[in-house]
Amino acid sequence: MAELVSIAGIGKSFRNGVAALAGVDLDVTEGEFLSVLGPSGCGKSTLLRIIAGLMPPSAGKLDWHADGISGRIGFVFQEPTLMPWAKVWDNVYLPLRLQGVERDAAAARIGDILAAVGLQGFEQAYPRELSGGMRMRVSIARALVTEPRLLLLDEPFAALDEITRTKLNEDLLALWRRHRCTVVFVTHSVFESVFLSSRIVVMGKRPGRVTSEVKVDFSGPRDADLRLSAPYAETCRAVSAQLTRAMT
């Protein structure tokens, strides 16, 4: 598979002198589900924001190997980050509206994506009327409605309960397969990263850097059974060990 973006020697120091990232090298391959795993404060969110172009790096550079990628990036924040004054439909319509797509022209796509995330029938609801999990679904639908080539997720399920989180993990995988986009998923959960990813990058702290990399490949489908299987447990143990080493 071709590379989508090459990150070379990225560093980020903030004005207060804190070095969040130093010498991060990372290639993101087209079509993969890449998890960035690390303890809190290792700069993984910062890395994601740099990839999104929301923050300039202080050192190093990003090489995009595809044309016209800007405007084709979806971003899901830690919080659902919905507009409280707008209904679900209008929240999902936002990216298209900003790109100048008329409401009528957008209707079919919005209907499709809302159905895909399991929110049909909630088009006219306001965000406050939804549960935390459903709000996150709206947020994911909003990120996917533009059919992005790269989907960036910043610990999107960290605030959700275990049951909702498990369900959303499975649904996210289904969406990834359907949309065939590249995903970079930031998390601090070993189990989540192993369940979701085709590749895991482990990051260490002070300054934030990539310490190791684990390829994840399971023969069977990724479903509830996988979570209880021996290969899953084994991979989790291996990744945990990497994470422990990264933190020392």
Partner: protein, 291 residues
């Protein structure tokens, strides 16, 4: 007489504050408390009026010093039509000033939100305009502006516009950071960010500013008329209060005062209702309590 005037003002303020609580959408309660919220202040008010009437009657206080509430009511009924004419004049100035405050205040806030430098350079002057007592500027404005209505309007506007500017500027600058990032990610133009993000984010604070400005516009209109006096055939309520004071027609003075208070409460109630209507469904302040 001064003391009684002050007393009357105090009573009006008390009644007004009670009404404000009743109309305040942020504070809603269960049935019993809602009943008590209306009933309790009504009981207090009626008791107070009865006591007032009794004191006047027992001590035989002449009406040019303190008229009883019954006489005030009678006077309001008798002079109502002519007082209403004056109220209309005051109300016109108030509403025009409020409209000007909303338009100019809102536009200034949008201007401030576009450029930090612009805000830094102009905001102090808005503050100066706000902290200078309107009574002190009014004579100047009356000299400069030939038209009486317009000069009163300018005075009332100066009193009313600041809360809208300050609140709306704050609101425009307090849009959700992540949403701001999201708009950037999708390459939103300045106009799109204003239209779809900053303006809706600012709406609750803007409306809170408008509610404050509504009352201030009325105060500004009355104070300005006190200073400017009457110009021409049309006189507002302030002139009627002054006139009634000179003639020791204290009952009419009270009646005019009562009308002013009721107008203030009415303006607040209408603005609160509009605010609730616009924020229904999404803003915490307009949501019913869940119990």
């Amino acid at each position: 007489m001064r003391d009684f005037l002050r007393l009357a003002q105090f009573v009006a303020a008390m009644i007004a504050s009670v009404f404000f609580h009743v109309f305040d959408p942020a504070e809603r309660m269960s049935e019993t408390w809602r009943f008590a919220r209306i009933a309790a202040p009504v009981v207090v008010g009626v008791t107070f009026l009865l006591a007032w009437e009794a004191v006047v009657w027992v001590n035989d206080i002449p009406p040019y010093i303190l008229p009883g509430p019954w006489l005030v009511a009678e006077t309001l009924w008798r002079d109502g039509p002519s007082l209403m004419g004056s109220l209309l004049v005051t109300l016109k100035i108030t509403l025009a000033a409020l409209a000007a405050a909303i338009v100019i205040g809102g536009l200034l806030a949008i201007l401030f939100a576009q450029s930090r430098l612009l805000e830094l350079s102009l905001f102090p002057y808005a503050v100066i305009l706000q902290v200078t007592p309107v009574v002190a500027i009014a004579p100047l404005i009356i000299i400069w502006v030939n038209n009486t209505f317009l000069s009163l309007l300018v005075c009332a506007w100066i009193v009313a516009f600041f809360p809208i500017v300050a609140n709306t500027t704050l609101g425009l600058n307090s849009a959700d950071r992540n949403l701001v990032d999201l708009f950037r990610l999708y390459g939103a133009s300045r106009w799109q960010a204003l239209r779809y993000l900053r303006l809706p984010s600012a709406l609750p604070l803007f409306l809170a500013g408008v509610r404050i400005s509504g009352g201030l516009a009325l105060i500004g209109a009355v104070v300005a008329e006190f200073v400017a006096g009457t110009g021409g055939a049309e006189t507002g309520l302030a002139s009627r209060i002054l006139e009634a004071g000179y003639r020791l027609e204290i009952a009419r003075l009270f009646a005019a005062l009562l009308l002013l208070s009721l107008t203030g409460i009415g303006i607040f109630a209408v603005l609160s209702w509009v605010s609730r209507l616009l924020l229904a469904h999404w803003h915490e302040s307009a949501l019913p309590t869940e119990d």
